[in-house]
């Protein structure tokens, strides 16, 4: 019997030792956090590099602050934030996190009080207007706008010439004209015109936003599918592209990039963050140019500018939040010089307006035949129509991906939009 009592006592002691040990950890963590800022972001060539530049700029004046930059894949960050925030414990979460604009409202509204308001940290009026909507709730700013997802049409000028066109013919065109030129290019060069992933309707999102329209209504909660003229035309344009037989299909990002780097595909309408992927094929230097994004043919609201992707910085409501907000405010929230560096060293185009006049923005890019691509992108940024991405972009898109397949297989467009609306209404509440 004695042995059992001893055993029990020992196990109780071990258990209590364990729990007290974790308590100690907690306290240690909290005191340490006040002078340490942890940041989560993805993409080592873009966001992480930008953070490192910001860190260097900040720690030069604030030597007592340690900044810990942790790289995670975007999907992992989304998953970790969801599990962390829904479990109710903030332990293990960073001070600052990068969130894609399409997902921002979903986080901000699903986890009220989890984010620290940044209204006083930076001047919202200094940033591109279309970035403010997705990053704020009820007039309070929660996200510091970061990179611009402004779109352009990257195109191979050498293939264009072989087909009897030049880059001038690509300026401010409509999607219908774009398809016509594509047919000519395919006929003359045998190269496909565009590479698409049937599982990613980014091109639809660009078309919709170019007309100031989105998958969801202004409130960000109700699906806006049946009766959405811009989206309907985007669907029809997508089908025209497919029927024109100028599309190469890819299934993932690496195939997508490979299609362009190998010279198999001649044009890509996408966000400006695609530039490093294009320039990765050094042998194609001088053969590319960037034109404004085509606009919808029959929609008067549609402009030759849109947005794809882009993200912003958020401060979590955990110990150390004031320091974290101060760091953001002092660097990416106001430092013009830092933005010049971002452009020169990594080609990252921010949405901070005062930075757009600097020298770096007017530099000619030899890879793109001397085109001043940064200043072009910056001027298109100003034209992007403002839309509310709302809470359910990806949920609706998954419905549309399925309906798009049905549409391509012969279902009527009105039926497609009605069915999509029905599904979306039952799924999102």
């Amino acid at each position: 019997m004695k042995k059992i009592i001893v055993l029990l006592l020992v196990s109780i002691m071990i258990l209590s030792a364990c729990s007290s040990a974790t308590n100690n950890d907690n306290n240690a963590g909290e005191t340490a956090e006040t002078s340490k800022i942890t940041i989560w972001a993805w993409d080592p060539n873009f966001n992480i590099k930008a953070l490192n530049l910001a860190k260097d700029a900040y720690t030069a004046d604030n030597a007592d602050v340690t900044i810990d930059i942790i790289e995670n894949a975007q999907n992992d960050i989304v998953q970790k934030l969801n599990t962390g925030l829904s479990s109710g414990t903030t332990k293990g979460l960073p001070n600052i996190v990068l969130i894609e604009d399409y997902r921002a409202q979903s986080f901000l509204q699903a986890y009220p009080d989890a984010f620290y308001p940044l209204t006083d940290t930076f001047k919202a009026a200094d940033f591109a207007e279309y970035k403010i909507g997705p990053t704020s709730v009820d007039g309070q700013n929660f996200g510091l706008p970061f990179d611009s997802g402004v779109t352009g049409l990257y195109v191979r000028t050498d293939y264009l010439e072989q087909a009897g066109y030049s880059i001038e013919d690509m300026q401010n065109i409509t999607w219908d004209q774009y398809i016509e030129i594509g047919k000519a290019v395919k006929e003359k060069t045998g190269k496909d015109w565009i590479s698409l992933d049937p599982n990613d309707l980014g091109i639809l999102r660009m078309m919709a936003q170019s007309a100031g329209s989105w998958y969801l209504k202004e409130d960000g909660k109700t699906a806006d599918l049946s009766g959405n003229a811009a989206l309907k035309e985007a669907f029809e344009t997508y089908k025209k592209l497919m029927d024109a037989n100028v599309v190469k299909i890819h299934a993932d990002w690496s195939q997508f990039v490979a299609n362009y780097n190998s010279g198999d595909v001649a044009s890509v309408p996408t966000g400006n963050w695609f530039t490093p992927s294009i320039t990765a094929a050094a042998d194609q230097s001088g053969k590319w140019a960037i034109a404004p994004l085509p606009k919808l043919t029959n929609n008067p609201a549609s402009v030759n500018a849109s947005n794809l992707g882009g993200s912003s910085w958020y401060v979590l409501n955990v110990p150390g939040k004031e320091k974290a907000a101060e760091f953001l405010g002092a660097t990416l929230g106001s430092n013009v010089e830092l933005y010049q560096k971002l452009v020169m060293e990594i080609g990252a185009i921010g949405t901070y307006k005062p930075a757009a006049e600097g020298e770096a923005y007017n530099a000619a890019n030899p890879f793109f035949g001397g085109q001043k691509i940064v200043s072009d992108f910056a001027s298109w940024t100003a034209e992007i129509p403002n839309v509310n991405y709302g809470m359910h972009t990806y949920a609706v898109e998954d419905i549309l991906i399925v309906e798009m397949q049905n549409y391509l297989n012969g279902k009527s467009i009105d039926q497609v939009m009605t069915d999509a609306q029905k599904q979306a209404d039952s799924q999102i509440k």
């Binding site: 979903s106 509204q109 699903a110 049937p198 299909i249 299934a251 397949q405 599904q423 039952s426």
Partner: protein
């Protein structure tokens, strides 16, 4: 009298000792299995975004019946189940009988070769399959060079072929694993039974169907239940090879749960409901399989 008391003491003592041994495990299982299961059950009656959950009664369960994505994922999962599980079980059975042949040379090599896929990482092999079956992948190049096809097969982006790709992938990964069970069971079958059958003039096929299969029945039952459960929980392969696409042509129930919790604005309540749908399915299938394979008196 004193003896009896001492014996009692010993009995209670051994009882206490044995209980203290399993107590740790019991507490752990309760804390890490049953408690979360009950919490998930409670959660499946709630709905809302993120942490704003509220009780909605059986709304989530009625929503299942009108949710077309749920129906599609359920159909997909059933297609995998109906096509892949029997195919794999038969293949595993066939290979294990071949490998059990006494006269076979290099037995160890063949066994290792066929079992090896089962030790590879799910993600690693999925990624390799994605490249093998890509539009310009090795499989297409080979078929084109052999003039078996004239245009590349869209293994990943065509709804029909994408399902085939997934089925090929999971069959490759799990056949060896099931084969090991059969192989070990085969080695427990007394050789004299086969000898007697041969003397009676039974053909090889007769021996297989009248001796091997009946004697392997418990193992066949076991492997079909574990494979069924595995298929109902299928996630890694689909996530990595096709991402559930094209559209949701290859999406499984597990991937739908993932999407509901992490890809869309999180609705953990409804995600829990879908996961309970899987639990219910697994229970139904296991009972069915027991009933179908069970002895009449068992």
């Amino acid at each position: 009298m004193r003896e009896a008391k001492a014996r009692m003491n010993i009995k209670t003592r051994t009882n206490a000792v044995s209980w203290s041994f399993i107590a740790v495990a019991v507490i752990m299982i309760c804390a890490f299995y049953f408690y979360p299961m009950i919490q998930a059950l409670i959660m499946s009656f709630q709905s809302g975004t993120g942490t704003n959950l509220s009780f909605v009664g059986i709304d989530n369960y009625t929503r299942l019946f009108t949710d077309s994505t749920f129906k599609t994922t359920l159909t997909n999962t059933f297609i995998y189940l109906i096509v892949q599980v029997p195919l794999m079980i038969l293949l595993a059975l066939f290979i294990s009988v071949l490998l059990n042949d006494k006269n076979l040379k290099l037995k160890g090599f063949f066994r290792t070769a066929i079992f090896l896929p089962a030790v590879t990482s799910l993600v690693a092999y999925s990624v390799i399959f994605k490249y093998l079956f890509g539009a310009d992948g090795l499989i297409n190049v080979m078929l084109l060079k052999l003039h078996l096809i004239s245009v590349p097969i869209q293994w990943i982006t065509d709804p029909f072929w994408a399902k085939i790709t997934i089925i090929i992938a999971i069959t490759w990964r799990w056949t060896g694993y099931n084969m090991i069970f059969y192989l070990s069971a085969l080695q427990n079958i007394d050789n004299s039974i086969y000898e007697a059958a041969r003397i009676d003039g039974a053909s090889a096929f007769k021996q297989f169907s009248k001796i091997t299969v009946p004697l392997l029945k418990p193992i066949i039952l076991f492997t079909s239940i574990t494979s069924t459960i595995g298929t109902l929980q299928l996630f890694d392969e689909v996530m990595n090879i096709t991402k559930g696409g094209p559209g949701n042509a290859t999406m499984t129930l597990s991937q739908y749960i993932y999407n509901l919790s992490f890809k869309y604005t999180p609705d953990f309540g409804y995600a829990a409901t879908v996961s309970y749908a899987i639990v219910i399915l697994i229970v139904i299938f296991s009972v069915l399989q027991f009933k179908m394979a069970g002895d009449k008196n068992g």
